[in-house]
Amino acid sequence: MEETNKPLKIDEIIGLLDKANKTLETKVSVASIPDKIDLAPLNAFHTKNIIKSAASGLFYDYQFTIVFYNILKEITKFSLDKLSIADKAVLLLELRSKNISDELEVEVKGTKKVDDKDVTDTLKHKVKVSKVLSKLSFKSDEFEEKVVETPEYSVVLRFPSIKEEYDFTDHLYKNKIANVDEENKVAIKGLIAPVFVYTLAPYVKKLKIGEKEISLEGKKVDERLAVIEKLSANMITKIMQKIEDTFALTLNKISEVEVEKDDVKYKGFLKLDAELFIQK
């Protein structure tokens, strides 16, 4: 490489760095929209924050959601209001493939016959993330609204946006989790109910009571939670079922890995969290 003797000032060096980083930008496809979006590379500071989130204890998943949202804000100009958590799953895999390594080890499980008995077998399998991404295909109806009805009222569900997921996670962390002692099992158990509500709430976009339709998008987190808490047990059960039967299947499709070995079918899921950026 060439060496120049001209001493650069720090601003000039940073300008040069930013210019060089721009050449590493890529266009990636996501799940819910046909357009490709521009993605800048992850930098060392992003990686450090991801690793820090992984080391933050029992609630590292929530910390990672918050950290990753802030990273996405820096590396893409696309509005995170318009990208869903399914798109986020695809972006996580793209960033892993392009910034860390295309190869990833995943644990897969299958059932094989041993002495005429079904035995669960576990394998460690190396996948090429780019191959997983290339096999993904989505139907437009996966991202359409789903309606859940009870005799009293109905709700409209849709995938939470990346921004919504961040807003709810940030609110949960600050209001419920931040002061919880991880050693206190009673306190941890006490989080189950609120976490459940916080998980369901981002999916609920509209509430229809008779002719009246109330849009929950754009409302504050507190207000949306208050609505969810007032829903009947029957409605909550139906919402959970609908999420499992539709949105969860789309998310599983993104992270699912299938492999066949010795006539045995093995299946596993890629962990779409901080581990994606730490694992070799």
Partner: protein, 329 residues
């Protein structure tokens, strides 16, 4: 004037000359062994500055060079044989086990793996880096910076923010080379934090993992408890060389040396100059003092035997009868 000796410097692949460690300096090192890392490295660096005889900018020395220098200073100033003690931490066992170690043997064990230049050039897309063992100057700046920021040394935060970065000496951006050692630490951080993650990954797999693997098989210390037979071992690692130095300098000879100093000061007029002598020289003087004391004691005993006429007279006249005095009435 203290003796001096040559020390082979791995990063330079040629020797530099250093004065032996004085007793005062040795005492300073022992004093900071239990202090924080910043105190320790500041003291070690200061001694290097004071003791170097060759004309050389010591700030260019690496942390590994400093380890070799202090290993050599210990051997040449105090002797190569050390005795290490350890209290067993086995179940209900607190037996103290002593182990004798020859530091020359340690040098023979580690030399084949570390006697080389570790400088490595890596590239990623239109970026490049030169990696090496950190210089003592870079290391000191990192500790000073984190001390001001109140980041606990050896904490996860400290290691995460500094370990990989401390090994990068130059960065190439689209053909332009930037020497990071010429920048202030906070400027280095501004640049390195913007480095692509892929490049950081290359540094981990292409440099850091390699240097750890280079020495991963070397045992520095292996002890077995005489009572419960529990084994204890310390592996040599590039990242723990300061800890290895602490063990080497905190051996049993420290206490013996203090007794020696007291004896020499009380028996000679060297009290004001003791600090300037190396521990080995102090031990030699102490031996001379002890030998001299033994000789003096033997001579005195002989002398006392020679002038004891009365015992000789008593022996010669014991058998004679006592005659009556002429003045007896």
């Amino acid at each position: 004037m203290r003796s001096s000796h040559n020390v082979w410097i791995p990063s330079l692949q040629h020797p530099l000359r250093f004065k032996d460690l004085s007793f005062d300096q040795y005492r300073c090192v022992v004093k900071v062994l239990d202090e924080n890392d910043l105190e320790l490295i500041s003291t070690l660096n200061e001694i290097i500055h004071e003791n170097i005889v060759s004309k050389f900018d010591v700030d260019r020395l690496t942390t590994l060079d400093r380890f070799i220098i202090f290993l050599s200073l210990k051997i040449n100033s105090c002797g190569s044989s050390i005795v290490l003690s350890r209290k067993c931490d086995g179940d209900k066992c607190e037996k103290i086990t002593n182990i004798k170690m020859d530091l020359n043997q340690l040098v023979d064990n580690i030399a084949p793996n570390i006697d080389k230049q570790f400088t490595t050039q890596l590239s990623y897309q239109n970026f490049g880096v030169i990696c090496d063992i950190p210089t003592i100057k870079t290391e000191h700046e990192i500790y000073m910076f984190n001390n001001i920021q109140n980041v606990e040394f050896r904490s996860f935060e400290f290691n995460l923010s500094n370990y990989a970065f401390s090994h990068i000496t130059d960065i190439f951006i689209q053909g332009q080379q930037i020497n990071l050692n010429k920048l202030q630490h906070h400027e280095r951080l501004l640049i390195l934090n913007r480095m692509p993650a892929g490049l950081l990954n290359q540094i981990q797999t292409g440099f850091l993992d390699d240097i750890h693997n280079t020495v991963s098989d070397i045992d520095f210390l292996k002890m077995t408890c005489q009572d419960c037979k529990k084994e204890f071992e310390i592996k040599f690692d590039i990242s723990n060389i300061n800890d290895v130095l602490k063990i080497i300098y905190k051996d049993e000879s420290v206490e013996n040396l203090l007794h020696t100093i007291v004896n020499v000061c009380s028996q000679t007029y060297l009290g004001g100059y003791i600090g300037e002598l190396s521990p080995m020289e102090v031990n030699r003087i102490n031996k001379l003092v002890i030998d001299s004391q033994k000789k003096t004691s033997a001579e005195t005993e002989q002398q006392n035997k020679d002038i004891d006429l009365f015992s000789k007279y008593r022996a010669e006249t014991e058998h004679l009868q006592e005659s009556q005095s002429e003045f007896a009435l």
